[in-house]
């Protein structure tokens, strides 16, 4: 059973080429295999989470090479939480893509989807900094394919920007890793933690450069202001189910910040002390502000959802940037919530866009207006952080955790004001889309453009997927007690990294 730890990476890595090579012309079989893989992945990740729930750190040495020399996969509570979240997000997104026929609008959707999952799972599990880079590239190259899925001029144009920006980020990642390697002589995260602590204070100039460059890379992934420019047009022009899956990709950046800057450049490392905190917090507050104002100013539904995702990343990064244990616990709870909420908003945006186009303008009532507007209402409440859904609890936890911080009044002001602006923006979009249209003159059925496709009932599967995500949010609210306890235990494990380091480097026996 020890090989179970690598299964979340290996399973999609096997299913994806199988889909490409054997099932290329059989869409139904592709769907079945892709779904089966996603279900199996959910089972595997839940089993792994059960293994790590008691706080043990599990290590898988690839090729049986011991830790600083070979690549290791490491499973602790944080990794387990992230892979469970990924697989539980992938399932409804995949159901939606099948239900809304998005997977038929271009080639190789399911194979790319599986490769994307492989990259995300690997990034969450790896214990090696260079291996993290490789998995970043795996998930990025799959995301390039998914981003331009089904084509279209604007999608290609947005795709070019997205790919160029991320290739720059990858180059910077390599520069950062090279700098760190030249100082420490290792790229294993646990070994880096040991070596960084031993470097004499006068030799740490290069180390600080490396640490800041690495932070920039993760900030690009996490869409931190001013490195967020790639996100709005990329997410708004990607197919919406793909954008919903991308909701976890910004969290890969947040996860990496949380992992590297607690384990390697932790708060007690003198060389980099104060370096990240002093920059991350103001940038995160600006991110939240930019996201909220973007929600208010969006003319298109896709951009609205994208800026909503940026605003939630701002809140998340505010909590992370304090680098305290309670703030990290709040951040983890909010991370799960914001992933599900952002994905739900993207899917609901797609339901609307399929029926009446991408612009937020008053239009005639569409089929199933009531159901879709209710879903939009729920998604907007969740993302803006209003009661009764988990966004409210998450924001409350973040506010509570920041009480003792030096900049607490600023943080509170930005989060509360940002929430208010987000609510106004969502309310504006919702009332324009769902209410204003009722006053418009009715369109004749024989008019061109009023095709049968518009009136045809949509597949139920798409709604099942949306309600699945909503169910996840409700479950996160109802079981907030166990969820916060798990988040607190995870944060405690993050801020006591010696167990992680000792297990990875095989020092437990001594």
């Amino acid at each position: 059973m020890e090989h179970l730890l690598i299964a979340p990476v290996v399973l999609p890595a096997l299913v994806a080429p199988f889909i490409i090579m054997v099932l290329r012309h059989h869409l139904d079989l592709q769907r079945i295999f892709s779904l089966a893989s996603a279900v199996l992945l959910a089972g595997i990740t839940l089993a792994l989470a059960a293994q790590s729930a008691d706080g043990t750190v599990k290590v898988y040495e690839l090729g049986d090479w011991p830790a600083p020399f070979g690549i290791v996969l490491v499973l602790d509570r944080l990794s387990a939480m992230m892979i469970v979240l990924t697989s539980l997000l992938a399932l409804p997104v995949l159901l939606y893509a099948i239900g809304s026929n998005w997977d038929t609008r271009g080639a190789n959707f399911h194979a790319l989807f599986q490769f994307q999952l492989m990259g995300i799972m690997g990034a969450f599990l790896t214990g090696d900094a260079f291996n993290l880079f490789v998995f970043f590239e795996v998930l990025l190259i799959a995301s390039y394919g998914l981003m331009i899925h089904s084509g279209g001029t604007r999608r290609f144009q947005a795709g070019v920007q997205y790919v160029v920006f991320n290739l720059l980020g990858s180059t910077l990642f390599l520069f950062a890793l090279g700098t760190l390697y030249s100082v420490t002589g290792t790229l294993n995260m646990a070994d880096l933690a040991v070596k960084v602590a031993q470097i004499p204070a006068e030799d740490t100039a290069l180390l600080r450069v490396g640490a800041v460059m690495l932070l920039l890379v993760f900030a690009i992934k996490a869409s931190l202001l001013p490195l967020h420019f790639w996100l709005p047009s990329a997410y708004a022009n990607a197919p919406m189910p793909v954008a919903a899956l991308f909701a976890i990709m910004t969290k890969v950046g947040a996860y990496s910040i949380l992992r590297i800057y607690t384990l390697v450049f932790g708060p007690e490392v003198e060389a980099t002390a104060g370096l990240t905190e002093s920059w991350l917090l103001p940038a995160a507050m600006l991110t939240l502000g930019a996201g909220a104002i973007g929600v208010l100013g969006s003319k298109k539904l896709g951009r609205l959802a994208a800026f909503g995702a940026i605003a939630s990343m701002g809140t998340l990064l505010i909590a992370i940037s304090l680098f305290t244990q309670t703030a990290a616990a709040a951040a983890l709870y909010y991370l799960v919530h914001s992933t599900l909420a952002a994905a739900l908003l993207f899917l609901v945006a797609d339901l609307v866009m399929e029926r009446q186009g991408q612009w937020i303008l008053p239009q005639l009532p569409m089929p199933q207006t009531g159901l879709i507007s209710a879903l939009f209402f729920a998604a907007a409440i969740a993302l803006a952080g209003m009661p009764p859904l988990s966004g409210f609890l998450g924001k409350l936890l973040v506010l509570d955790a920041t009480r003792g911080a030096a900049l607490a009044p600023w943080i509170w002001g930005v989060i509360l004001l940002g929430s208010l602006i987000t609510i106004i923006g969502m309310a504006r979009a919702g009332s324009l889309l769902f209410w204003k249209g009722h006053g418009l003159p009715q369109r004749a059925a024989e008019e061109p453009g009023y095709t049968a496709a518009e009136t045809a009932p949509p597949p139920a599967l798409a709604f099942v997927a949306c309600f699945g995500l909503l169910g996840g949010l409700v479950a996160l609210t109802v079981f907030a007690g166990p969820a916060t306890r798990y988040a607190e235990a995870t944060a405690a494990q993050l801020y006591a990294p010696s167990a992680y380091i000792d297990t990875v480097l095989g020092r437990t026996a001594e």
């Binding site: 084509g151 279209g152 604007r154 144009q157 795709g159 720059l168 180059t171 390599l174 030249s182 047009s233």
Partner: protein, 117 residues
């Protein structure tokens, strides 16, 4: 040797950054390639510059050796950047062919305009 490698990294990076800031996609892609060359040379230097030595430790006597890990890293980086360059060329070509415009900026749309499929 140090001067040669350092100036190579510096010039490649400077040229790459300059090209990336251009408005059209072909110079941008060239700039990305130059940047990946710069980072590949830079990665070699992270293992300290040693010429003419094998990447093998000798436990019987003190001999010069070169660090093999950066070479493995560079190999991985080359493969990845090669693949990525191919992808970005294809996507840029797709954008150019469908819009007849190779600018990297997105044109502004009028409100309510239908998307051209």
């Amino acid at each position: 040797m140090e001067l040669l490698v350092a100036s190579a990294v510096g010039i490649l990076t400077a040229a790459g950054v300059y090209l990336i800031l251009r408005r059209r996609s072909f110079p941008v892609i060239l700039g990305l390639s130059l940047l990946t060359y710069a980072v590949n040379v830079f990665l070699f230097a992270t293992g300290r510059l040693v010429t003419g030595a094998p990447p093998i430790l000798n436990k019987y006597e003190e001999v010069a050796y070169t660090d093999p890990l950066p070479q493995a890293l560079v190999l991985t980086a080359i493969v990845i950047s090669f693949g990525m360059t191919a992808v970005v060329v294809m996507i840029a070509l797709g954008a150019y062919l469908s819009s007849r415009d190779d600018g990297t900026a997105m044109p502004v749309e009028a409100d309510g305009a239908e998307e051209d499929a």
